[in-house]
């Protein structure tokens, strides 16, 4: 897109809301990082630290009834779309109080009541699912839209092109939100991704590239895309350039066995570009909020995280018989 359709906003209230949501994601994930390190979590966790502006800047525009699909790195999308911290934590702890009853875990957090069609362990798996949800919304004419969050790595799956084609032809109310965090597992994106991802999308639809560590830039790009989707103009592509601060997976150092695929200096440089610190500085500089107000937010989030972790830890383990009842609706496997 060359011209911006929406030049107003975000409002002060929206900015504070996004600050709060980004901080919530960060603090929850720091807790997951620590609990993973001490062996409290049964499965692998892929952390979103450093990418919070991407999920939050987009979801700030969405209604509860809109749809999102997410990836293996899905905690941030889940929380940004309004998922419950407690229910997510308990899921990652494999408890029956978890949002998927301990059946899905970190890589599969989903809450259909909030429009969260789920994180996905198959890279690229969410693209077509989001297109299907957008198709259903279009058929229903209920004004809902769908957002597909995916990584730079997923953009190399053929389904990316196939989905863009059908979404464009059918003018689906769909947003392709590509978070380019510069890595696919231990492989730098530039070694496996030819050209610019946004150029692939340009063959089909308006495409824009934004600084993914600037929540205001993401919010503005998403405002246009949401506007297009809601007014029946079809899909839009956004590429947010960002950086994965943590390893691909928390067990990464063990898996690498001393191998290296990026520079520590690079990680430090990007850590300085933290989207949350950046928004905080902006809020203080523009006198949108005094430091004390931001500290209050921090304190209240600390409480939410502590409560969520305690809730997760205290929950009953998942029901080992449940799987048999869940394979089919209305029938036992």
């Amino acid at each position: 897109m060359t011209t911006r359709r929406n030049n107003s906003g975000p409002t002060d209230g929206q900015l504070l809301g996004m600050y709060e949501r980004m901080l919530l994601i960060r603090r929850i994930e720091e807790r997951l990082r620590d609990d993973s390190a001490t062996g409290k979590l049964p499965g692998a966790v892929h952390l979103y630290i450093g990418q919070e502006a991407c999920g939050v800047g987009v979801c700030a525009h969405l209604e509860e009834t809109d749809w999102v699909t997410s990836t293996h790195r899905g905690h941030g999308h889940f929380l940004a779309k309004g998922g419950e911290p407690k229910a997510m934590m308990a899921e990652i702890w494999a408890k029956r109080t978890g949002v998927c009853k301990g059946m899905g875990g970190s890589m599969h957090v989903a809450d259909l009541s909030k429009g969260i069609l789920g994180a996905n362990g198959i890279v690229g798996g969410g693209l077509a699912i989001a297109a299907g949800a957008a198709f259903a919304a279009k058929l229903d004419g209920n004004g809902r839209i769908a957002v597909c969050f995916f990584g730079d790595g997923a953009s190399n799956q053929g389904v990316f092109m196939e989905t863009m084609n059908v979404a464009t032809l059918w003018r689906l109310p769909l947003i392709f939100m590509c978070e380019n965090n510069q890595f696919s597992e231990f492989t730098p994106s530039k070694e496996v991704t030819a050209g610019e991802i946004a150029d692939r999308a340009r063959a089909f639809m308006p495409a824009t590239v934004v600084d993914g560590n600037d929540v205001i830039a993401v919010w503005r790009a998403a405002a246009d895309a949401v506007d297009r989707a809601r007014s029946g103009e079809g899909p839009t592509f956004i590429e947010a350039k960002t950086y994965r601060i943590r390893g691909h997976i928390e067990a990464e150092p063990m898996m690498l066995g001393g191998g290296k695929y990026r520079d520590d200096v690079e990680i430090q440089e990007w850590t300085k570009k933290c989207p949350i610190a950046r928004l905080r500085a902006h809020l203080l500089e523009t006198r949108t909020a005094p430091a004390a107000a931001l500290d209050d937010i921090e304190a209240s989030i600390h409480g939410i995280v502590t409560d969520a972790a305690a809730y997760a830890e205290a929950g009953e383990p998942a029901d080992p018989e449940l799987g048999f009842d869940l394979m089919f609706a209305g029938a036992r496997a």
Binding site: P42, S184, E185, L256, P320, F324, M327
Partner: protein, 323 residues
């Protein structure tokens, strides 16, 4: 003989075969830094022409394996987790398994696909499948299920030298396990089962990952005076039917242990073969110890409910003998 980890034995086989034949190439997602550990060190030794990280695009990778093999290379494709067979399945089922027949035998497809399979580590439903039954049904594809380091090395070397597509199913939970591996150019022929323990009372056929549990079950049963004959088929396609039939003719009882879901599992196939070809030798019903027809849940407690274990195997043997 030297003790080696399962994953190290695979790594040794890759080094030896790439050294032996310059036409052997290897590609896959994150093989350079070796996300599974098995390809570690290959890049430094053989360079990027022969081992290379790919984009995430399994549908293309399986197709490229077919093309490069048809054009004269010996291809090793690493698919990481066996669930990614599904994203690459078209070229496996429609090309790899059929092209030789469709071209009237004009080409050979020396392709070895590596992937880790199995549950028990809370990786949830999309990273824990045991999908060899679907591969067995494709036709034209060898299916290898090494249960220990020695067989891993020998079967992999055999696969790389062979002229047909082979899927080398790595037991994901077994990577760190140690076993004696013969020195030198150790090869294991396809279709040759190993009798891991001799016994007169019941035949237990255990596949891949399940062999260890079956050995533990055999120990438990030995204490109760039941002598189990443990057969490890080592390859499912081709299947050493004769070895299983011989064992059942000796014991009269068959229990098959398989980590695949029950319906149309490898265990189902083996049970059918015995019912068909050795019915007269059976003194009781065949029992299958498999995973129920349920996707693998995340919670460890729910996974344990589904996966075979030494106790469930021993119980199945006891039931088979009592029937």
């Amino acid at each position: 003989m030297a003790k080696k980890r399962y994953i190290q034995a695979i790594n040794d086989a890759l080094f030896e075969e790439m050294e032996r034949d310059p036409k052997v190439i290897l590609f896959g997602e994150d093989v350079e830094l070796a996300i599974m550990g098995d390809t570690r060190g290959l890049l430094a030794k053989f360079g990027r022409d022969r081992i290379r990280n790919t984009p995430i695009c399994e549908a293309t990778l399986t197709g490229m394996a077919v093309g490069a093999a048809a054009a004269g290379y010996r291809v090793i494709l690493h698919l990481m987790f066996s669930n990614f067979i599904y994203t690459g399945f078209d070229a496996i089922a429609n090309q790899m398994g059929k092209l030789r027949l469709m071209t009237g035998g004009q080409l050979k497809l020396p392709i070895t696909v590596l992937c880790g399979y199995g549950g028990g580590r809370s990786t949830a439903a999309q990273h824990s499948d045991t999908p060899y039954p679907v591969l067995m049904n494709v036709g034209g594809i060898h299916v290898l299920t090494p249960s220990n380091a020695a067989d891993a090395k020998g079967l992999l070397k055999q696969a790389i030298r062979g002229d047909n597509p082979s899927f080398f199913m790595e037991a994901s939970g077994r990577g760190g396990e140690m076993a004696e591996v013969p020195d030198g150019d150790h090869l294991v022929p396809f279709g040759s089962a190993a009798i891991l323990r001799e016994g007169k009372d019941a035949t237990v056929v255990a596949i891949g990952h399940m062999v260890k549990f079956a050995l533990e079950a055999a120990d438990q049963l030995a204490k109760q005076g039941v002598a189990v004959e443990l057969v490890d088929p080592r390859t499912l396609v081709p299947l050493d039917e004769a070895a299983i039939i011989r064992s059942v003719q000796k014991t009269g009882h068959l229990v098959v242990v398989d980590e695949a879901r029950d319906r149309c599992s490898a265990a189902s196939q083996i049970a059918a073969v015995i019912a068909d070809k050795a019915f007269g030798a059976l003194k009781g019903p065949i029992k299958r110890v498999t995973v129920p027809n349920v996707a693998m849940p995340y919670a460890a407690i729910a996974e344990r409910r589904l996966l075979p274990n030494p106790t469930s195997i021993a119980e199945a043997v006891t039931t088979a003998l009592a029937a």
